[in-house]
Symmetry: C2
Subunit: 509 residues, 2 copies
């Protein structure tokens, strides 16, 4: 919890106080952008697209000008010279303010514009190329984009004193280092192929999972999702559940909006999606209220954010403990009957493992392989050890090596994800860092409070959420992900904890 | 229709071109504010209020800074010196740009802040005072607000060379003059009391109106509303229909969003509300596309905007011609039966006249009396001929004189409307100016194209909308409301046309 509150008086004139005032304004602008994005993804009629793009571009321009204005740099310099007057949270806030300023000023406006244009052009071509399984069509666009991404990496690496890859990673994972990722991914990579074989054999010996028979009306799915959300502590006075093509968690900490997409023939996927996004939402809601709108009050990087959704979804809601409680609730909601509604079967369904081509559909066991593949490839591409024309071949080789399957098309291979074609290089590892972080946090939480798991078995998430507020949510960006993890669990990221979780869940007799 | 398009090239360097660029940015910021307002009124959870207020305040601050920046004034001066190079639309755009700049710079920032605070404080007290019928409670607040409103009027009057009242009116009705309003309202005021007596007598002699019996499920009401909206030409690719406590038309010209509020025991009010807001929406959609985002491409003042909603609602949709077509559609939608569903009865229902206390519930005949009362009172208050403590008495005197009824409480009297307590002084006359403008435009349209009314009798609004696009919507702010009316109808505002409409509709045998 914060040990002091930010200075609210705008007239206060210390450089630090004026920085807080400036970043409160920047935050209001960012929040306005968030709301416009939510609107665009959920309710905006398609004909509003052009005007919305102009609104967002103008807000981005205003935000950038305010953030990178000379006054920001002057205030940072002056505040940094007076840190003796600041307490720990204020110092952490100044550190985060500085990080944002340095990041924003590392790139020339010209490069930002060229990158944005190249990414838009590439993404548009990619949509068709993916549909048509035509990597050649998008190849020149993504190659051109990569040139600019490398240029961006070089510019940021110089300013930040980081390697090329780490300079890009910093956009998503502040303080993240590829040396550490290499170590934990290397460990996982050694563990996974054999383990996967064992799991598949184990599951083949057991009974198969049966999908409950529908239809499952959207209204009932929504009511069930809301019921579980409330159980998790989601406050509809400060948030919403809506529908969008791609589920996400958006909005602002005091107005958190999650979305899902319903399939009336199968409720299981939308429901788990809602629980996943609720994990993100609880993080946003639990951020330190006294530091709302200040950089130190914001969520940490993507791996911690993803750890909160995966802790709720993967660690808790796909567990046998929770499903014992949830199975009858699901059955009653839909008026279901028969063995498909037993907790045994629902657990098998929610923990089914398969070798498959598409990352977003992958299960918990095979997912890291998808991520490790992408991490290795993007690192080689960014560092110049590989070029775009080699991508499809390298992708397919990696899939054979890591998962033992060969994608029949690039649509099912290197064309499947938007990230590279949209300019989001350096993002991929955060998914699996998040999964490992989730396992480690949940293990520590249960260790420290043995009431957490039995309570979940009764649908009571309060003990878990209290632990998360104290150890994760309420800390905002006060410390790095690494330090947060050490404080909460006693050690930095340790892939063994994740492996133990997988072994316990997937090889139980 | 515009005879030329604005200059799109941002690099173009004439002062006029740079002004266009600057106002395109201002427009994007205004549109973002519009979307945030829509969100706040329709879907935002209540707990998001504080953060939203900060977002809106920051956008207002950024907008104000960009609009009133010294560069805007310099560019206006330079562009004004070179108008020979501009065509008619560009010149009209420069005129609108100048008007906005002068308006925004007429008031000191200090006065704007004091006004905004006083209005917020007064409005909050007013909500409770209205509920408690306690004018005394709000009296000091509205008195203090009036002091600042007068100060605002003086400041603007000096800069604009207008009377105190006209200086405030200019915020809502550019080019509007109280001398003209006095003339037309005086004429109406002479006509209405006797006419109202005749109408009430006439209606008392005829059969009464019967409300069709419900319930009317919200989904069916919505489907009916959407069907009529589409008939009017509303394009759901560029707009939405939603629910809010107070119906409004918001959004932006390419993403127009109207709202309504459903009562499952009576569909007639929500339906007419939808048609009213659709009139506003069609105006926004029909604004000159080539001038999107430029001041000359925006809607004219409030009286023309209100004329478009009232033309659709009052002139067309409450007409016997339209109701002959619509009655069977309504009946089929709700599976209704019996005489309540006859066009005769629905027409009586939709044209029922009554002396009543509340403006927003008033019918077409008594509505102007409510507006004239408010206009006279606010003019006297602004010009210092009356003070706040005299308001309740003056209100009640006016109601007796104009409508022959005495409000039993201030809640049903001078506390009913938000406008004065929220700082919107000078707004009221535009409602009745809009009603008169609607009558005059519709009479001219039917005169010029005799196909318009028979087409409406078949549910075909295309001829009417084509006329409105050519004579109103497509003109944006190219000319003043007065000139637009003269061009479209051959004369300035003439209350006789409105009176004829009322006579024809309400005293028909």
């Amino acid at each position: 919890m914060p040990d002091s509150t930010p200075i609210k008086d705008a007239a206060a004139s210390s450089p630090y106080a004026r920085l807080e005032q400036r970043f409160r304004r920047l935050n209001a602008l960012s929040e306005a952008q968030e709301v416009l994005h939510w609107d665009m993804s959920t309710v905006m009629p398609r004909g509003g697209h052009e005007a919305r793009a102009e609104q967002l571009a103008e807000l981005a321009a205003v935000h950038h000008a305010l953030l990178t204005g000379a006054e920001t740099g002057d205030l940072i310099a002056a505040a940094t010279a007076e840190t003796d007057n600041l307490n720990d949270w204020q110092r952490a806030n100044l550190r985060e303010i500085t990080r944002r300023y340095v990041k924003a000023t590392a790139l020339s406006e010209d490069l930002v514009t060229r990158l944005s244009r190249a990414a838009s052009a590439c993404e548009a071509v990619w949509r068709d190329a993916r549909a048509a399984n035509d990597f050649k069509a998008v190849e020149p666009y993504v190659a051109e984009l990569l040139v600019l991404v490398r240029e961006k990496a070089r510019a940021k690496a110089d300013v930040l004193g980081l390697s090329l890859y780490d300079a890009l990673l910093a956009d998503y994972e502040p303080g993240g280092r590829s040396a550490e990722i290499d170590a934990v991914f290397g460990e996982l990579e050694a563990f996974l192929p054999d383990f996967l074989g064992e799991v598949l054999e184990h599951q083949a010996r057991g009974p198969g999972a049966v999908l409950p028979a529908g239809p499952f009306p959207e209204e009932k799915q929504k009511a069930l999702g809301r019921r579980f959300m409330e159980m998790l502590g989601f406050d509809f006075h400060h948030g919403r559940l809506d529908v969008s093509l791609h589920p996400f968690c958006g909005g602002t900490p005091d107005d958190v909006r999650i979305t899902t997409r319903y399939d009336e023939s199968d409720f299981t996927s939308a429901l788990m999606g809602v629980l996943h996004e609720t994990g993100h939402a609880m993080y946003e809601r639990g951020l330190p209220k006294d530091w709302r709108g200040q950089p130190v009050g914001h969520a940490l990087g993507m791996s911690v954010h993803e750890s909160q959704s995966l802790l709720v979804e993967m660690q808790v809601c796909r567990s046998r403990t929770f499903l014992d409680f949830a199975a009858p609730v699901m059955r009653e909601t839909f008026g279901g009957e028969g063995p498909a509604w037993e907790a045994d079967n629902l657990f098998r369904l929610y923990t089914k493992v398969e070798r498959s081509f598409i990352r977003v559909d992958a299960d918990e066991v095979t997912y890291p392989a998808h991520v490790i593949l992408r991490y290795r490839l993007e690192k080689a591409l960014i560092e110049g050890d590989m070029e775009i024309p080699d991508l499809p071949g390298a992708w397919n080789d990696g899939m054979e090596r890591l998962l033992g399957i060969l994608p029949p098309t690039d649509t099912l291979g290197c064309l499947q994800d938007i990230h590279w074609y949209d300019g989001a290089w350096g993002y991929f590892p955060t998914y699996t860092l998040g999964a490992m972080t989730a396992a480690q946090l949940y293990a520590a939480a249960r260790n420290q409070n043995p009431e957490i798991e039995p309570a979940i078995g009764r649908g009571d998430f309060a003990p878990l959420m209290a632990w998360l507020r104290a150890n994760v949510h309420g800390k905002g960006s006060f410390e790095t992900a690494r330090d947060l993890l050490i404080a909460a669990t006693g050690e930095p990221l340790n892939p063994k904890v994740f492996e133990n979780h997988l072994r316990t869940r997937y090889l139980a007799p």
